[in-house]
């Protein structure tokens, strides 16, 4: 079988001139601001409306401002950015569409559910490394209230969420990738396959996504020939506490000795006292954690090589009502700080 020049093994890609993350930005809601990393985001909203009339408008404003901030921090302007890659959880990805309208950058909309940040990074890196763009700005967002009313129940309805349910993060994260510059670089990416092991509970997305996360990680390490201890941090997007445990067991059974360096953005973003049950979820979860605490630590030199495993549950409210199970996928993105790190 013919193998593409930049491909490694089954599903992984290598970037010969790793695109550089020259800037990043994140805006979060009040709850996330009260979490363990509250001070490490660029801006914390005072309420969940951000001065707008509806939550949907607020989310779009969050994404728009985060993207603008990332462009600004890179000392460039939207006119000099070649492409905008963005996606979100709402129907027809309207949050991203309306943010793109305001920015005026050629736009490629994405849907990967909660794995959108990783998907955007992988695709953005391909565009830059492939010589199709000098600069790409990419980002994603989620908002607790917009996703509750679309996927689950009205926010004022008295329902009891099970212990393994997760809390959608209100937040947006964005990154500007450039062909050259100073900063951590995207060196490799693994594109995941959709897997479905029959989980039907829309409140238990962690279990639905854990096999996909395990599969993509097994694939990454097999394709690259590396070991988990070669990385300072292997962080999944939003498996939550239950999904993380299940994924860890699947990986260990698969022969990957993941240790303390294996954790999850959903588990990290809130304090247990904030009563979010299994942890955070949503596109914004991995986006804000990456575009705040994680990249900051890479800049500071605490982390040299990390893997971001964006995980996405690919169901819709209708499929759940129709009794379908939840398909999921996971993308792996390797980010490394070369040079003086």
């Amino acid at each position: 079988m013919l193998q593409a020049a930049k491909k490694l093994g089954k599903q992984t890609f290598k970037f010969d001139n790793p695109p550089v993350i020259v800037s990043y930005a994140s805006i979060v809601g009040p709850m996330e601001g009260q979490g363990p990393f509250g001070k490490e985001f660029d801006y914390v909203l005072e309420d969940d409306l951000f001065g707008e009339k509806t939550w949907e408008k607020a989310e779009s404003k969050m994404l728009r401002e985060t993207l603008k901030l990332a462009v600004q921090k890179a000392s460039t302007s939207p006119a000099e950015v070649d492409f905008l890659l963005a996606g979100d959880l709402l129907n027809q990805i309207v949050t991203s569409n309306f943010a793109a309208r305001a920015l005026g950058i050629p736009f490629l909309g994405l849907y990967g559910a909660c794995s959108t940040m990783a998907e955007a990074l992988a695709l953005g890196a391909m565009l830059v490394d492939g010589g199709f763009a000098e600069r790409v700005v990419l980002g994603t967002s989620s908002h607790h209230n917009t996703s509750e009313r679309q996927f689950r129940y009205p926010t004022e309805q008295g329902v009891q969420r099970p212990l393994w349910a997760q809390w959608t993060v209100t937040g947006a994260g964005a990154v500007l990738l450039a062909r050259e510059g100073k900063g951590p670089a995207v060196t490799r990416a693994t594109v995941g396959k959709v897997l479905d092991l029959g989980v039907k509970d829309a409140n238990d997305m962690g279990s639905a996504m854990a096999p996909a996360a395990a599969d993509s990680l097994l694939c990454y390490f097999q394709d690259t020939g590396e070991e988990p201890e070669d990385y300072d941090l292997i962080v999944t997007g939003d498996l939550g506490s239950l999904g993380l445990k299940v994924a860890r067991e699947l990986l260990v059974r698969g022969g990957l000795a993941v240790g303390e360096n294996f954790t999850d953005c959903g588990v990290l973003v809130y304090y247990p006292e904030q009563d979010v049950h299994a942890g955070g979820s949503g596109c914004g979860c991995s986006a804000v954690m990456l575009c705040g605490p994680i990249l900051k630590r890479m800049e500071a030199g605490n982390y040299r090589r990390i893997l971001l495993v964006g995980t996405g549950a690919l169901m819709s409210p209708l499929t759940v009502q129709q009794g379908e199970s939840i398909p999921a996928l996971a993308h792996v993105v390797a980010i490394e700080k070369k040079g003086e790190g």
Binding site: D48, W55, N145, E156, Q157, Q160, K200, D201, N203, G323
Partner: protein, 127 residues
């Protein structure tokens, strides 16, 4: 005076226990069935069960025993529907069979719609 107060407290206790048990039963259903059983399913189940038990003559004793503890849960709504249908069928034949249930519960249904509307207009969801 004391007898009045004692009867009052007794009625409260009976309502508390009856209502509590009826609700606890719903909790068992919710916790032990698959996630596909939602609050909406539980509500439909209660109305239907209340109506059927009422038709079999088993709900009225519960009302006499527990008072509000039996009328306030949604099974009580089913009970009113059933009793209304029965008396409607007996007094007005076929038309009564169709309309009796709704007639008996009309005030409650309209109240739900009207109060619901008013509150939804005045207030905004806070997430």
């Amino acid at each position: 005076m004391f007898a009045g107060a004692a009867a009052f407290l007794a009625s409260l206790l009976k309502a508390f226990v009856t209502g509590g048990i009826i609700c606890a039963f719903g909790q068992v259903v919710m916790d032990f069935t698959r996630p596909t059983v939602t609050p909406g399913h539980v509500l439909v189940g209660y109305v239907t069960a209340g109506a059927l038990l009422s038709a079999l003559g088993l709900y009225q004793p519960l009302v006499e025993l527990g008072g509000a503890g039996a009328t306030i849960p949604l099974s009580g709504f089913g009970h009113s529907l059933a009793q209304g249908a029965i008396s409607g069928a007996r007094s007005a034949g076929l038309l009564g069979a169709f309309g009796g249930g709704v007639q008996a519960t009309a005030a409650g249904i309209v109240a739900a719609v009207v109060f619901g509307y008013i509150m939804a207009v005045i207030f905004n969801p806070r997430g």
